[in-house]
Every structure is written in C-alpha cells, then in structure tokens.
Symmetry: C2
Subunit: 557 residues, 2 copies
Amino acid sequence: MVVCLRLPSLTSSLFSPATTNSLRRSPALLGRWSGPRQFQPHSPLFSASTQGTAATETTSEDRVDGNSKNRMSNNPDRVITPRSQDFNAWYLDVIANAELADYGPVRGTMVIRPYGYAIWEAIQEFLNVKFKETGHSNMYFPQFIPYSFIEKEASHVEGFSPELALVTIGGGKELEEKLVVRPTSETIVNHMFTQWIHSYRDLPLMVNQWANVTRWEMRTKPFIRTLEFLWQEGHTAHATPEEAENEAIQMINIYTKFAYEQAAIPVIAGRKSRVETFAGASKTYTIEAMMGDRKALQAGTSHNLGQNFSRAFGTQFTDENGQRLHVWQTSWAISTRFVGGIIMTHGDDAGLMLPPRLSPIQVIIIPIWKKDAEKMEVLNAASSVKEVLQTAGFKVKLDDSDVRTPGWKFNFWEMKGVPLRIEIGPRDVSSRSVVISRRDVPGKQGKVFGISMEPSILEAYVKEKLDEIQSSLLGQATSFRDSNIVDVSSYDELKVAISRGKWARGPWSASDEDELKVKEETGATIRCFPFQQPQGIKTCLMTGNPAEEVAIFAKSY
Amino acid sequence: MVVCLRLPSLTSSLFSPATTNSLRRSPALLGRWSGPRQFQPHSPLFSASTQGTAATETTSEDRVDGNSKNRMSNNPDRVITPRSQDFNAWYLDVIANAELADYGPVRGTMVIRPYGYAIWEAIQEFLNVKFKETGHSNMYFPQFIPYSFIEKEASHVEGFSPELALVTIGGGKELEEKLVVRPTSETIVNHMFTQWIHSYRDLPLMVNQWANVTRWEMRTKPFIRTLEFLWQEGHTAHATPEEAENEAIQMINIYTKFAYEQAAIPVIAGRKSRVETFAGASKTYTIEAMMGDRKALQAGTSHNLGQNFSRAFGTQFTDENGQRLHVWQTSWAISTRFVGGIIMTHGDDAGLMLPPRLSPIQVIIIPIWKKDAEKMEVLNAASSVKEVLQTAGFKVKLDDSDVRTPGWKFNFWEMKGVPLRIEIGPRDVSSRSVVISRRDVPGKQGKVFGISMEPSILEAYVKEKLDEIQSSLLGQATSFRDSNIVDVSSYDELKVAISRGKWARGPWSASDEDELKVKEETGATIRCFPFQQPQGIKTCLMTGNPAEEVAIFAKSY
C-alpha cells in the first residue's frame, strides 16, 4: 500500500488542517456562499398558520427558547452550539444543519428528511435480513384498533390510555366505537392470531411489521420521543413458555449485536425492573445506551408477554394430546429513536459523526481546482475515483458543485458526519493519488496524503479505514461509557453518582416503592439488571438485604 | 440441455395430470390432512366481539352472503368458486385460501398476511430502485394533518372531505383543531416544501415516501379498496411547467414499464378526463388494467399538479433574476391495490398465478417417496437442488412436510400461484434428474420429465422457463385485453359494448355532462385518453363534432 506524506499541496495550503476546526463557516470561508441552499435554517417552531391550533401544548424540549431562536435564524455564519455548552441545543442544531429532520405542523410530530431517513433505511436493511434469517415474516396489521381491544388487557390499558390518539369521526359520521390509532399492536395481533392459530402445527407463528405508531406524548424531542414514530414490531406465539423466553432473548441479542456492530453503540443489555416492564409483559429485556450527556437511552426492547394477551384474547391452540392451551408470546421493537441514539452517541462539536456501516454516504469526494484549466482533469479524476469505489460497493458521493468552496464543503460534509473524505487537486491528478481524511480524527492526524488511485490499493485502503473508524467509534463510546459507570454499595453513593451525572451500578433487591423513591429523590430509574453480572455475594444498596443482582440506575431520555 | 420424456414414474402415476384439476382437495386426497393448518378458513365477517361497533356500515362487497358464508365455513373439502361462476367469490376465495390477506376488526380494514405482503415487498423492491435511479429520495411526512390544510386547495377538499378519518381526541383531551389522518400528503408536503424551497438552486426537489393512508370508503374489497392501504407517494417541485410535465410523464412511464415487465399486466397508459382528474391536479396520467372479469382497474396514477398547491400554500422560489415564482409540482402513487390487480389479471380456477418476477416463491420443490427407505435419498436430492437454485439467485422453497401428500402439495402450491414446480422421486434420484411443471400450462403439456440435476443445466432450464412464463402471462393478458376492447363510433355502439362487458374505445370531444350521462346510463367511465392514438380523422361518438382523441370507456373497480 502506498501511503506517504507529501509537501503541502494546493489542498493543504488553501485549507490547512487548522481551518477545519477553527474557521468553521466564518464569513471569509463563506465568501462564495451565494444562497441559503445547504445550511438553510428553518424555524423549529410551528409555522404561524398552525401554531396554537393542533398544537395543544408546548414544553421546554419541543420548542426552542429565545437563544435558540437566534441560533436558528437566517444567519449564514452561525455555528453549531458546542456540545459541552448545551447538549440539547447542540442536538437540535445538528438535526437542523445536517437536515436530518424537521418539525411537522402538528405539535410533537416530525418530518424525517432524506438524510435522516437514509440512516433509518440502513437500520431497516440490516435488521430486516436478520429477522428473516431467524424465521420471521413481514406482514401488515391495520393501524385502527377498536377502543374495546385496548381495554382487554388490564395493565396494557393502564399503561397506554393516557397516550392515545382517537379517531371519532369517519366519512363525516360520528363512529359508534372510537378507534385507537395504534400505539403498539399486541391487541390487534392477538385478535388475528386467535383466528389463525388452531393446533400446535400452527406454532410458532412469527411475524414482524414495519409501521408507524402514535403515542400522544407531552414532552417531545426529534427522533427520541415524537407523537408519531416509525418502528418495527415483532410478534410471535409459541407452544411453550421456554420457546417464548428463548425468542425474547434471541431478539434482544440481535438488537445488542446490531447496536455494537452496526451502530457502534456499546449498549448494556439486561432485564427491566417490574416497575419499568412494558404494560402487558411478564418480562421486558432492554438495551440501554449512554448518550454524550451521559443520560441513558432505551434503544430497543424485547418482551416476554407470557400468556397475558393470549388469556385476554383467548388465543389458544390444541396440543398433541388434544388439550386446548393458551399460547406464549413475545413482542419486540426498535424505532426511529435509534437514529437519535446514533447522533447523541457519536456526534461532536463539528456535528454529526456516523458509523460507517450505517452512513448513507461513506466517502465524500471533493475535487479542488483553482484555474478553469485544471477543472476538467480534476473532475475527471474525481469521477473515476467515485466509479471505482462505487463499483467496489462503497457508498460514495462526489460533491462537484462549483457554487461552494472546497473549505465550505469540508465543513459541510464533516457536519453531516461522513466517515471519510477524499480530496483531489491538480497535483494529486499528476501523481495519480488522493488525500484521505478521517471524520473521527480531526486535523492533520486524520489526514493522509498520497494514497494511490490504483483501484485495488484505493479500495483496500478505504475498506481498512472504514473498518478502523467503525471500531474506533465503538472503542471511544465504550471507554466513555465505562468511565461514567460508578459501582455503588449504598444509597448515598448512588445519590452522589447520579448527582454527578453518572450511571450508578449496585446490588438491588429492594421494593418497587424503594425504586420509586430513588426516582423521586434522584431523578434516576433502574435502567436494567444487566445480563452480565459481577461474581460474588451482593448486598442490596438500599436495604442491606442479600441481593441476587446488580442494577444500573441512571437518568434517562 | 437434457430434456426428454420418460415413462410414467411414481410421480405421474400417483398424481396423473387429471388429478390436478379434477380432484382438488377432495376428501380422498385429503385423507392425511390432519388439521386446519393450510386451508384454514376464516370468516370474512367481523368477529362477533366487534361487529356492529366500529363497523358502521356493511355493503354487499365487503361481506359475504349466505352462500359465501358456506364457502368460508370450516369444511376442509371446500373448493375455490370457479372464476367463471362468480368472479367476486373466486377473488375472495383465492385471497383466503392463498393466505394473502384477512379482514381486520374494523370495517373495511385489511390485514396483509405474509404471502400477500411478500408480493408487495417485491413491488417495493423494484420500484424503490427505479425511484432512486431517477433522483428521488425517500423520506417521511407525519400522517396527522391539521384540518385547515385540507381546506386550502378548493377542489382537493371537495374531493377528499367525504372520505376523511378525523382524530379529535389526543392524550385524553379534545383537540382544538381536528386532525386528518392522511388520505394523501400534498397539503403537508407543500407546507414543508415552503420551508425548504427558497431559490432555484433548491429545485427540483424530488421525494417519495412509503406509507399508509386512510380513506373512509363505503364499498370496500380486499386490496382493491380498503379503509387503510399502503402505497408510495412521490412528490416533486420544479422551476418550470415543462419540468413538472416531464416528471409526471416519466413516472407514469416507470409505472407502465413496471406493470408490463414485472407484473405482466398490459396496462393502457393515458390521460384522465377532466371529470376523472385527481382532486387538485391539472392533469392526471393513469395506467388502466383489464381484470379477468373485464372491469378496469386504475393501477397507478401520476399527477401534474401545476401550481394548484403551490399557490394555495405559497410555495415559492426566487429565480435567477431575483423574481419570486410559484413552483410547479407533481405527485404519483402506486398502492397495495396493485396486488389485487395481479390476482385478478392472472388467476384461474385453480387459484393464484403469479408472474415469476414478483412471486415470493418462484420454484417449489416437492419430494416424493413411498417407502421410508426412499425418504432420505429423496430429501437429500431435493435439498441439494434447492441449494443449487438458491445459490443461483432463484426464490425457492422445499416443501418437505410429511404431514401432507404430494398431491395435496401440488394443489396447494398451484393454488398459491408458484410459477414452477420441481418434483423429485426415487426414480429421479437414480437418473439424477427432476420433473418440472409450469403453473401456467395445466396438465401433461406443462410437465417435462428428465431435466438433469446438473447445476448449470438445471439453472439454465429454470431461468428459461421462468422467462417463458413471464412473457406467456403477459401475452395471454394482452390477447385477453385486446379481444375485449371494441372500437365504437356511436353512443349506441358504446352502450352495446359496455353491456357485453367490454371496453369501448371511441373518439370523444363531448362535454363533462355527456361523460357523466354515459356513466349514469351505462355504468362506464372514461378510463383514459390513451397515449397511443390511432391515426386519422376522428368524429366524437356522442356529438359528431371533430375529436382529437379516442377515449376508453369501461366499468371499473
């Protein structure tokens, strides 16, 4: 592999590495920036026409304050709020600037823009294959559920009724029974399963759907908690409790592997406490991710539903001995919330940082020319590099606009989180080489000159670098996570850890009431009892009684 | 290629070609049929628990009469109603037996079951690539639209307001403004476009979403017209009317090509009359398909929206001269209705017949053994054939269940519309060959013995046969279509043609009132003014005035 340093070329002299971080979108760099095309700011507030109509309530999280408004104004040299200064403002800035999402006209709804949706598509593509490999079929259940269905499973209705959107008028007439816009589909799934399941030969029944769901949330935040969101929901029915348990575990394991290997998010997988278990489940398994502000994000869940829904809906089968038995069930889901998790795990002051395996663009190519005479040969070389990498299966984009300067483009694609940047100037064309920069290593250190354009060398180099970035992101997130989890053995230690913004891990066998007390007094909840448990004798941090497991406490989204 | 006839083997003697058509699911054949697994009938009516609650109205098409109820009863030897006897009953039987869909608990809603959904996934896979190739990005708009949006475009509200589902309660509170569950997204799209489009550099803006939509239809029919359905809706904005027109034409062309080449449906592409134009469009282009009962199905539409929505929503851009102008727009859609179109185009008395390119299973392998001693070698050979074909990229399934007889399996997979069947018995194993039957050619004629198992030969044969079936289906549908279109030159001729169940094609330049009169008197509407027009001077069939175009009249779904 040909990797060598070279003297500063046009590339590096025009845009020294320092530029990248210090002169971000300064007026000087934006001299040729002649329109609001890319950094088009848009108000995160509701448009005048609908504000105060469908928008029934607005909370501190789903609107911006005066300061943020300023940040969102039509000022081309504005910057992204530093992450350390205001994490929430940074998050909203990244979403707006990287054009991931926008606010819908109805309070708490979100428009997922093409770049954000492409991340979701990458998530779908991976998981969809895994679901099929493990024997699940996709299908589609209607989103309107008779209100009476929701009431059939006692804890389910208790959990969901405050969040329901109800259709009461259809085709101009008041409906006899209100319809729930699905917040989740266990009830309608069981209604249908009851018609399809008859004997043990119909089991296991394992299906999944990619769908939108609606929960009337009061505190909303793009991707993390929106009134409507996209997800997949798996639903299965089994003949025995063991099979259902195995399925629930299998699916949380698939989510865990996905989080680690694709999203580079070192989630902690475990079991939810009784208090935090899904409304209607016997057990809920979860993957919990630590965001950049050290708050926990529940990033995916898998529920062992036991016979709760099958008893409520009469979902029975005839076993080999002719006995009628209720089926054992699971459900499991990952949603567009995961996109928020990626942003808040890897992003930095420069903006988004995407794990290569889920990045809609893995390599951005930026051609650099000064004189018109150079333009053609540079663009030709850039196109052929693009062609080579595309053919090799990489997701590549060539930014050949001549409205923007290369410096503007550097910043822009850095902000969009593209893992690798290839620069090609006239000197590179002469030497048949390119300059490659890593998004995750700022400045000179991340920049290597003189990578040969020879297809086999270039492909191998790009592959190696993308793999390096992928594991480096995971490594960094893992270190960050581990340095922010504190082992505690008393409630006082827990309180200190939480007050310092950390996660607290300690033995727990106390009551639900004690758990709620912790929440009330510290703002932290049990995120999970991790599957990976330390060895040795454990004493409950709250009661001093013997404990079988440690729990992780944290503030969360 | 080794293709030769051989003497009747175990295969053919056990299940003579005649069996296929005459002994369908007779009690004899079903001797070993020990449970309601595959042919499980399910009532197409609403379950007792919800009937008459959410179900506000039931029409002749969305429920079955006494007769049909019988057909749907728990009788294992029931057959599919012959297509010629009752097309609608046949259609519902095929959907139930092939497990394509089921009725949801709310009137007019549909559950798309895995086999039906897999056809939709094949449609999605193909179109999604085409949309991206032509520069469109996927994204997602919220499904809740403030009611006031719908009212902004005058003809849009007129067209859609009778069909709306309205959310009036959210999170336990009465909403200040009712929310429409999207029937289509032009209004919310324009609301957002207005925030994203500023200068000519932001154009064209070309997006698509795969989503569910809701229309409160009174007469429903699985796939064809349901209260909620799945579709893709493309939305674009352009700087000039020419660009918008080109886009609308480009997309109807993509749909046309898709219908011909993937679905083997010889649609007629053309322009809708003013009366039939989409509510809010300047022009609507359509593809019209002839179903097996000779009714027309509007299978996809592409609208040139002109400036209707951009004026209503103020979607403007600044052109190169600094002038503010309204954008020119298009929208275009294909829905799960298309699955219904496939069923009703190709299906026959034996059930579904799927075009190979959209079939979830292209090749079904059925192992045949009598003695237990034969079982292992037959199954091994069947598995290795499956492996070979799968590796070659075909969608293959091996039905190795030993609960069913081969005869039962033949009928079952025929009914499911799988294009090719491979039979492997002990004699085939000895001769290293297989028997291959075509779904579209019944009996002996479609059956070829002695196809070598040698991978390259088998692959080439399967590929050739699938291609043949694909074009044969298109050919048959085209002949059927062409033999059922009658050229008419007077209203009397039109009436005769329509009364005979045919499509009538004739010159038309009469008024909207005349068009509505035709509908009232004959039940037929103008399906389209086809793009392909006959040469020569034309005289309006209704008025005798000069006409520029012929129109196609037909009864439709």
